[in-house]
């Protein structure tokens, strides 16, 4: 057994991190409430975007934890706690979702029974898209995620004290079960919260699209926290730029993957040009939304692709910090682009900026809260030494 806990000492995270979290959260909340009273519908949709932002980073991080266990990765062990802290927003989702659940009627077209009664297509899918079943699905999905979060994190924390290798084995099994469960639940989430905003539209790849966005956003958030904490000396001293390289490379891979999925969806609908599908993209190509569509391609693909292409760029802390913030911004645009153009006559408003502050502030606060409770390095993990020894060949 290697002695690796000597070099790591637990420190409290800097005060200004929690201060920043409170400021962003408070400002977002106050301005958001003001926004709610000026334009209720818009504020609700913005809250939906903020909720999906938190959700995607939380569940994307939990997936990355599961992938580490199943894939047997070593390099990510020294930074796994950062990922765990980011995934802890999952336990707050059942509370955060309440304002949305109470306003299903305002957000979703299909929740109006009088509209559905007159619409043959909506009537055909009303056995899936109805309020009762929708609420059951929402909470069932959140309960399943909460359960897997609880079990995986409990084992990981327990290992800090016991150093029991059996816990790694348990988490590998849990993770293997979680991954297919994740695939189903994230698809349900994407269809319910985003695709059904335009209930006539359908696309089989949509779950994969939301999944790819979630993973790239989670990677960006992880990288940002890792680089920040490493610079301030909170991480294990043996964590070096080689570890960052893997994060940069994964970001690069998922930027490409997202673009591939987005292109596949667009290309096939554009080429076939069937009115039952193409109207969704046409909505995003008129009334000024076309500029946002172009911005999405540039922000979510071209810029990060160019910035991360070269090998040295993938391990440059400065570059990674910049591009991580950039990708998080792009992820926000992506969600905005999925939600807002569904509403006729909507265009950019100041409310759109203030509500996301709630999401950013909340993620920082939850991170800070969790960081107080656990070590920032999984000191009992048997793969920690191998992970610290990792070098880019």
């Amino acid at each position: 057994m290697h002695q690796n806990n000597i070099e790591y000492q637990k420190k409290d995270l800097p005060k200004n991190l929690s201060q920043l979290g409170w400021i962003l959260f408070g400002a977002g909340l106050i301005l958001g409430v003001i926004g709610f009273f000026t334009d209720q519908h818009r504020a609700l949709l913005n809250y939906l975007i903020a909720y999906m932002f938190i959700l995607s980073i939380g569940i994307g991080s939990l997936l990355l934890i599961a992938l580490e266990y199943v894939g047997g990765a070593d390099w990510s062990v020294p930074i796994r706690r950062v990922v765990e802290f980011l995934s802890s927003t999952i336990i707050f989702l059942p509370i955060l979702v309440l304002p949305l659940v109470f306003s299903i009627h305002d957000i979703f077209h299909w929740a109006h029974t009088d509209v559905v009664a007159k619409d043959e297509i909506l009537k055909a899918k009303s056995s899936y898209l109805n309020e009762a079943f929708f609420i059951i699905r929402v909470f069932a999905v959140l309960a399943v995620w909460g359960l897997f979060y609880y079990l995986l994190i409990r084992n990981s924390n327990a290992q800090d004290i016991t150093k029991d290798q059996l816990l790694t084995k348990k988490n590998i099994i849990l993770s293997a079960i979680f991954i297919p469960v994740f695939a189903i639940t994230i698809t349900i989430t994407a269809v319910d919260w985003l695709m059904s905003l335009e209930p006539h539209w359908f696309s089989t790849i949509f779950g994969v699209y939301f999944f790819s966005g979630s993973v790239i956003a989670s990677l960006a958030a992880i990288t940002l926290f890792v680089v920040f904490l490493k610079e301030k000396g909170f991480m294990h001293p043996k964590l070096i730029d080689d570890h960052l390289f893997s994060l940069g490379a994964l970001q690069f891979a998922f930027v490409n993957f997202w673009a591939y999925i987005a292109f596949s969806q667009y290309m096939l609908i554009w080429y076939a040009n069937l009115p039952e599908e193409n109207f969704w993209f046409l909505q995003r190509w008129e009334n000024g939304w076309q500029y946002l569509s172009i911005l999405l391609i540039i922000a979510h693909f071209i810029v990060p692709y160019a910035a991360l292409l070269s090998q040295p760029a993938k391990m440059d802390p400065k570059r990674l910090k910049f591009i991580s913030v950039w990708i998080l911004f792009a992820h926000f645009i992506d969600l905005y682009w999925l939600v807002m153009p569904n509403v006729n006559g909507y265009y950019f408003s100041l409310i759109d900026i203030v509500v996301p502050l709630i999401a950013v502030g909340l993620i920082i606060l939850v991170f800070n809260y969790r960081a107080k409770k656990s070590n920032l390095v999984p000191i009992g993990d048997p793969k920690l030494q191998k992970g610290l020894d990792f070098r880019v060949p």
């Binding site: 899918k125 059996l166 089989t204 949509f206 596949s264 076939a272 191998k386 020894d389």
Partner: protein, 456 residues
Amino acid sequence: MNIDYSQELPVVEGGLKQAQIEELVAKPLDTKPDKKFLIAISISGSLLLIGAICLGLTFYYGIGLWGNNQPVGWGFDIVNFVFWVGIGHAGTLISAILFLLRQRWRTGIARFAEAMTIFAVMCAGLFPAIHTGRPWLDGYLMPYPNQHQLWINFTSPLIWDVFAVSTYFIVSFVFWFVGLIPDFATLRDRTTSKIKKTIYSIFSLGWRHSHRNWQHYEKAYMLLAGFATPLVLSVHTIVSFDFAVSIIPGWHTTIFPPYFVAGAIFSGFAMVVTVLIFVRKIFNLEHIITINHLEKMNKVILATGMMVGYAYAMEFFIAWYSGNQFESFVFINRAFGPYAWAYWIMVSCNVIFPQLFWIKKIRRSISIMLAIAIFVNVGMWFERFVITVTSLHRDFLPSSWGYYVPTLYDIGILLGSFGLFFTLVILFTKTLPVVSISEVKAVSEGAQPSHNGGHH
């Protein structure tokens, strides 16, 4: 069995020394063909001959010999094409993507999988070339300013296929050849035969195993891996476009590109497992292509099998969710119509049987994994059959409903493609090192410096 997660598992087992690895891999090249080899090649050669005869008759009489009819205008030709392109996906995934992911275990199987990729793409390329029954017109697939001023239809995904598949073939071939250069040099240095020495010298391009050689080699290998990685995705994406850009219910659906790629990796890995089980046994490579290798490949089969299952489920769900009666009809017709037998073969082989790989014992049992891998191969062939035939056989008007039955010539040509594939595989085992000698040496115990002073 308890694993110590703090330790690295050895990739090469049995404590093989460097010289032993060389000896083991080069042995089939140093010995004369034995009886087993001759039996194997005569079987595969016979299949190839059957295919050649059927093909010759097709060229003479035309494709009226095939089962294609109205409304099923696409039959075995496209099914076999997509099947073989799919088989050709494992090699480049193993050699390029697993290389970029720093998976050391890939070294033992990469060479063989890459060779299978090249042969499978050759088999695939056969079908577009013959599907008109007039192979002498294939030149028109290339955009060149000919005297008739005929220009290819750039908006057709079938022509994108020509470029995608030929690019994939070229890059896979170059990748494979670059990997072979150090091994050619090793063989050149060992051999005593003058003819062999000349041949190996030419192909080793003056390799001297020098530090400088290796530096350039590693850079080139990494760049090629970077180029090959998007190709793994692009080829089957384009193949899926053959179907998905159309507006036929059952073909036009947005999940097709990633679903086809997952399916291709799934079938490719199944084929690699099927063949490697025999190769490691016949050539005594059990210490280099270990049970651990096979177990990892079975895990990939399990994962990609579930991705394919996800796509089946998603297609079904959205066909209903869309509220489009034509979409729903096609999918209900697939599962319960006249081709239900093919659909359920596909589902059970691709989604249900691979679930057995959740059990560790089965992942490590040679006989059961062979059975499952063969099931997957059958299932993936049927997947393409289901997509092609069931979507076409009942057109929008019930007056143009039909049923497709392949003729003996269709089956003969399919057998011929297997004959071509296995003939090339068997010849490969006798002429080139089936395992990368230099790469396996690099991952054998004691080959690399270790940060904690090694753990031997």
